[in-house]
């Protein structure tokens, strides 16, 4: 059990983590998500007592990490696969860590076998690949048979076999009743491994819920509707009819329409009522990645742009036509991963307002963590009104 209360970390003027409170419970794999620079690693470092919080505190099984009588026997951590002295053998590296907590040397050979590094035990870790480094880091986390495990990006650089192994290892460790807290950027991996999610953005808690709830609460579920290409008027007619019926309609690049806020049969009825023929009416289920993208849109600090290669080109004479690349999907289009909620284009991730309970309406309209910093709002609470959203949103 990891428990953080009001955790805050400032580096000079920059606040890396602000007022973060969460619990990581035993028995499940808890994923820890957030964009680059959102404070995940800082939080992990505070949990492990490497950084002192500016405010708040974090405990493991009720103790601050630095007060644990034998930390590696309680908590195993993989923070950084490269945090080893490259000149030391793998075995000696693990041995010096084992000795630090009174773990016998035969346990070192045991975990080397578990992670599959027994053949390179006497090789200096400088020559290890990233994946081998990760295995060594996981070995050091497993050394003390701990009840709490923290992994920062454990599958980084692992081969597919290794990824599968880590996935099963996490699940197995959690099934044994251990607390497993994993950060990762690989959403597909998280969807397979984690049952519970803690999402932070810009150092603040965005979500603390199960993966299933997370996807449905931040769902980008929509219906794709296509009218006959030959008749653009039908498309406009349907758009008007659907909007009137309470749905939100967003055109896609290929001429189809994304419709949210209306169940599929209703869309069909509306189209029928407006006597518009449909070529396609298909449900689109959101993945964890889409839900995550939707939630963290507003909290991304480092966003890539298209490389125009202008710095390499000769200066064109004035008036010459500029070359520009067509926009990439998702690029500079805030609503790409999900249509923006009605009435307010570009609001980061408010819940769809219309038709709560409809399959595309984002059924359990949970509290907006950005809009409401008040703790423990009940799930049944009405979604915040657009006005408060606008005031509080960034």
């Amino acid at each position: 059990m990891i428990e953080a209360v009001g955790l805050t970390k400032r580096y000079g003027a920059k606040t890396a983590v602000y007022n973060l409170s969460f619990q990581v419970r035993p028995g499940t794999v808890t994923g820890f998500l957030g964009p680059n620079g959102s404070g995940k690693s800082t939080t992990m470092r505070m949990i492990l007592g490497l950084d002192n919080p500016s405010a708040g505190h974090v405990t493991i099984a009720g103790h601050p990490y630095r007060k644990l009588p034998n930390a590696p026997r309680h908590v195993g951590a993989l923070l950084d696969a490269k945090a080893v002295h490259g000149g030391r053998h793998a075995r000696n590296h693990l041995l010096c860590l084992a000795q630090l907590s009174g773990i016998p040397a035969r346990r070192v050979d045991e975990v080397l076998g578990v992670v599959g590094l027994q053949d390179v035990a006497k090789k200096r870790s400088k020559g290890f690949s990233l994946g081998m480094g990760q295995r060594l880091g996981i070995a050091s986390a497993l050394l003390g048979d701990p009840q709490v495990l923290l992994f920062d990006e454990p599958v980084n650089g692992l081969d597919p076999e290794g990824i599968l192994w880590v996935r099963n290892l996490m699940k197995q460790l959690a099934a044994e009743g251990r607390t497993v807290f994993v950060s990762s950027h690989l959403m597909s991996e998280m969807a397979l491994t984690a049952e519970h999610l803690i999402v932070i953005g810009r150092g603040q808690l965005l979500a603390d819920m199960s993966v299933k709830d997370f996807i449905s609460a931040n769902s980008a579920d929509f219906a794709r509707v296509r009218t006959p290409d030959t008749d653009p008027q039908q498309r406009e007619k349907l758009t008007a009819a659907l909007t009137e019926a309470g749905g939100q309609v967003l055109p896609e690049q290929d001429g189809a329409l994304r419709v949210t806020g209306l169940p599929l049969p209703r869309i069909s009825d509306v189209a029928h009522g407006a006597s518009v023929r449909l070529w396609e009416l298909s449900p689109h289920q959101a993945s964890l990645e889409e839900a995550y993208m939707r939630m963290t849109q507003g909290a991304v600090d480092y966003r890539s742009t298209i490389d125009q290669r202008a710095g390499l080109q000769q200066q064109l004479p004035a008036g010459a036509p500029d070359q520009f690349a067509p926009p990439m999907p998702g690029q500079d289009q805030p609503g790409w991963y999900a249509p923006p909620p009605p009435q307010q284009g570009g609001q980061p991730f408010g819940m769809p307002q219309g038709a709560p309970g409809g399959p595309y309406g984002g059924a359990p309209a949970g509290p907006n963590p950005y809009a409401q910093q008040a703790p423990a709002a009940p799930a049944q609470a009405p979604a915040p009104t657009p006005h408060t959203d606008n005031e509080d949103s960034r």
């Binding site: 499940t28 492990l48 002295h85 630090l100 299933k212």
Partner: protein, 292 residues
């Protein structure tokens, strides 16, 4: 819960009250098993664990072998070369360990380097985060580093100086002159260079950067040996220059080895002990207060 099979234990109700929890009904958790408890008893760690760990660390990197190897080569090599070029009457009123002095002047740089590397290599590679995660009692790790390094440096320099003294006395002891006893030079000489290394370790822990700490230590050793030449020019600076000349590291060693028939270097040794103690205190304070 002491059962090794936690799944059989009744599942506790997950504690409530997590702020900003989407679903306070608790159903997301399913039925978590009881928290895992390792069947192997957990023992409280102590300084002995940290000492064993630091011993493994210091013997398992090549920089230790290189710096100590060069140290031994310098002290014993130059010592024997000088011993071979001296005569028995040269040892009137000086100890037989004197030839080791010249090697030590160079060799102390090796111990300084090793002292810095013992701690700064951990910061440079990131190993320090792994270490401090494995032992959140940071002061214990640093204390173990100081103890292990000091013991290694002391034993190695003691053996090197002693070996030079034994060989020299074997070559030149013919009863024609009365040599000074070498026990004091052996103890104090090896203490002085080991303490320089310990000071380097403390500086390394303060600066957390190998090149920076080694440079700082070289400055500390060499500048007081060079600067007096300039300070002596000015009349007002003269007293400072004389003190510097008296207490700089090479001169302190020469006093310990009774080269100018001097004081035995006790006050110089005390100065180094004081400076080292201050640096150690600073290193501990910084280690506890700052983020790793």
């Amino acid at each position: 819960m002491s059962t090794p099979h936690p799944q059989q234990a009744p599942a506790p109700v997950p504690p409530q009250g997590a702020p900003q929890q989407a679903d306070p009904s608790g159903k997301w958790q399913g039925l978590p098993g009881a928290a895992y408890t390792s069947p192997i008893p957990i023992k409280r760690t102590h300084l002995g664990n940290a000492l064993a760990s630091e011993w493994t660390k210091i013997r398992s990197v090549r920089s230790t072998m290189w710096t100590l190897g060069i140290f031994l080569l310098l002290v014993i090599g130059t010592g024997l070369a000088i011993a071979a070029n001296t005569e028995p009457r040269d040892y009137a009123d000086v100890p037989y360990t004197l030839p080791a002095f010249f090697g030590l002047i160079l060799g102390q740089i090796c111990l300084i380097t090793l002292g810095v590397l013992v701690v700064s290599s951990e910061y440079g590679t990131g190993m320090i985060r792994t270490t401090m995660t494995a032992s959140p009692q940071r002061h214990r790790v640093l204390a173990a580093k100081f103890l292990i390094f000091f013991l290694v440096a002391y034993v190695v320099s003691f053996c090197a100086i002693g070996l030079v003294g034994l060989i020299t006395s074997g070559m030149h002891e013919d009863g024609s002159v009365e040599a000074a006893p070498m026990g004091g030079t052996l103890l104090k000489g090896s203490l002085y260079v080991s303490l320089l290394g310990v000071l380097a370790l403390a500086v390394g822990a303060l600066l957390r950067h190998s090149a920076g700490a080694i440079t700082a230590m070289l400055g500390l050793v060499l500048v007081p040996a060079i600067l007096p030449a300039f300070l002596m020019i000015s009349e007002s600076m003269r007293p400072i220059g004389e003190k510097m000349l008296d207490y700089n590291a090479p001169n302190s060693l020469s006093k310990i080895f009774e080269i100018d028939g001097g004081t035995g270097g006790t006050s110089q040794l005390w100065l180094l002990i004081g400076v080292t103690a201050a640096a150690i205190v600073g290193a501990f304070i910084r280690l506890e207060a700052r983020d790793v």
